[in-house]
């Protein structure tokens, strides 16, 4: 059914962004986020969420923290876990998942922020296909590490963007 996939992505994006935006600072205001997929090669939902978050930072909308999303796939038949799969890898995968986190951000000018106490901070997730419990937990953990790096990069990009203007 055309549009159902987009509707699901929209619902996930909206609820995830609602958790991050400090809406109380903008009463009686509408924050509209429009996501246009320019090219698709796997991990579309994760990319969309990262793009939306980066756009909100660029717009100066106050956020509680950055939100980073990562796509993952479980290769079939004893193959390993793939992070950020391409479209071909996704299509061949036994299972795929997209996970969004609220990663700990490095303090400005400080050293790499170590993750306190193994806290997962899973904000949103959607999976498809069959995973064993162990595979799921591995996927969630690996995606979390990917999200940490994603958030560090987003922070860097945001700082550079702010420095230029």
């Amino acid at each position: 059914m055309a549009g159902a996939v987009e509707k699901q992505h929209e619902a996930l994006l909206r609820r995830s962004l609602e958790a991050v935006i400090v809406a109380a600072l903008h009463p009686r205001a509408l924050i509209q986020v429009v996501v246009q997929v320019v090219a698709e090669d796997g991990g579309v939902l994760a990319c969309a969420l990262n793009a939306a978050c980066a756009a909100l930072v660029d717009a100066g909308v106050p956020l509680r923290t950055l939100c980073a999303a990562v796509a993952a796939a479980q290769a079939p038949e004893g193959g390993g876990l793939l992070l950020d799969p391409t479209a071909a890898e996704e299509a061949a995968a036994a299972a795929t998942g997209t996970f969004a986190y609220l990663p700990l951000l490095a303090a400005s000018g400080g050293s790499d922020g170590a993750r306190g106490g193994g806290d997962l901070q899973l904000l949103a997730s959607v999976t498809s296909g069959r995973l064993t419990t162990d595979q799921l937990l591995d996927m969630v953990e690996a995606a979390r590490q990917g999200a940490d790096r994603m958030a560090a990069f987003m922070q860097l990009a945001a700082r550079q963007g702010a420095a230029q203007t």
Partner: protein, 308 residues
């Protein structure tokens, strides 16, 4: 002196209802801190579930599932179609979820709601990617004809845990679906074997007597459980009253071997830790056992009724 018996304070019930309307969060908190919910359930108990099969006589299979007040009706219609050119050895299953305007005060007639579209997508993806229905099961004659199965899901009363109720209704309906034996002659004419004639042919020992009807072989039986996180506690199977107050909602779908077919968490103000995920998966596993037992009972009862 019966009049001396103390009467309850006037408007006691009215006060509770008013409090719930005005301060829904505090109302729920009062219960949860005592390990209960407003409807009297403990935190880790799902609502009474019932499955009714064959409720719609015009459908090839149907199921009405009630999860507390949440009511969902699934109807299945199977039609013969020319085999698709790109996948000649597979049939097709099309699923659609509709939220009837009468299901909730928030539902509006006309435009399909976002919730219905999300459920449609989730269930379609589950049946397909989760390996529940294999398209090859729906093949009649490769390259020529195949089954087109249409599953329509109607939410009649939306009182929380829609994903759980809809999935169960679809599972129950598909589990009870019987496909007619179909013959295709050289001219391409399709004849559905008459169940009486086929039974007669089988009993008279004619060769090649394939069964008149066959059940769809499902790859697995997925059951989902929606849990809510509220003030650090896990609430299983939240009602529509509880859902907007929750900090986060997790829906876990597991098959009978404990394989995870879906983990859906759409934002929410609370993030989940490892422990929370494991807690949710455990609860979903237990619930899955309960629900599959119910489903088997319902299928057995329907079979017995059909034979007698």
């Amino acid at each position: 002196m019966a009049a001396a018996a103390a009467a309850p304070p006037p408007g006691g019930e009215l006060q509770a209802e008013a409090f719930q309307r005005l301060y829904p969060d505090q109302y729920l908190a009062q219960f949860v801190t005592r390990g209960l919910r407003p409807d009297g359930r403990p935190l880790a108990l799902a609502r009474p579930t019932s499955i009714g099969l064959g409720v719609v006589s015009t459908a090839d299979a149907s199921a009405l599932v009630k999860l507390g007040s949440t009511s969902v009706l699934a109807g299945v219609k199977a039609e013969v179609m020319p085999a698709p050119a790109d996948t000649p050895d597979r049939g097709r299953l099309t699923l659609q979820v509709e939220m009837a305007p009468l299901c909730s005060a928030d539902a509006r007639p006309g435009r399909p709601s976002e919730a219905a579209a999300v459920l449609t997508q989730q269930l379609t993806s589950l049946l397909d990617a989760g390996g529940v229905v294999d398209g090859r099961q729906l093949c009649i004659d490769p390259g020529r004809v195949a089954w087109a199965v249409y599953v329509d899901v109607y939410v009649l009363d939306a009182d929380g845990s829609l994903h759980d109720a809809c999935l169960l209704a679809v599972l129950a309906a598909l589990s009870s679906l019987q496909l007619h034996a179909v013959t295709v002659d050289d001219a391409g004419r399709v004849t559905k074997a008459d169940s009486d004639a086929a039974a007669a042919a089988a009993s008279s020992g004619q060769p090649g007597g394939a069964p008149a009807m066959r059940r769809l072989q499902l790859g697995c039986q997925p059951v989902s459980l929606t849990c809510g996180v509220y003030r650090g506690q896990l609430l299983i199977d939240p009602t529509a009253e509880e859902e907007p107050l929750l900090d986060a909602t997790l829906t876990a779908t597991l098959d009978e071997q404990g394989g995870v077919l879906g983990l859906y968490k759409a934002g929410g103000s609370a993030t989940s830790s490892h422990e929370r995920l494991l807690q949710c998966l455990e609860a979903a596993k237990l619930r899955g056992k309960e629900v599959r037992d119910l489903l088997w009972q319902a299928l057995d009862a329907a079979d017995t009724a059909a034979l007698s």
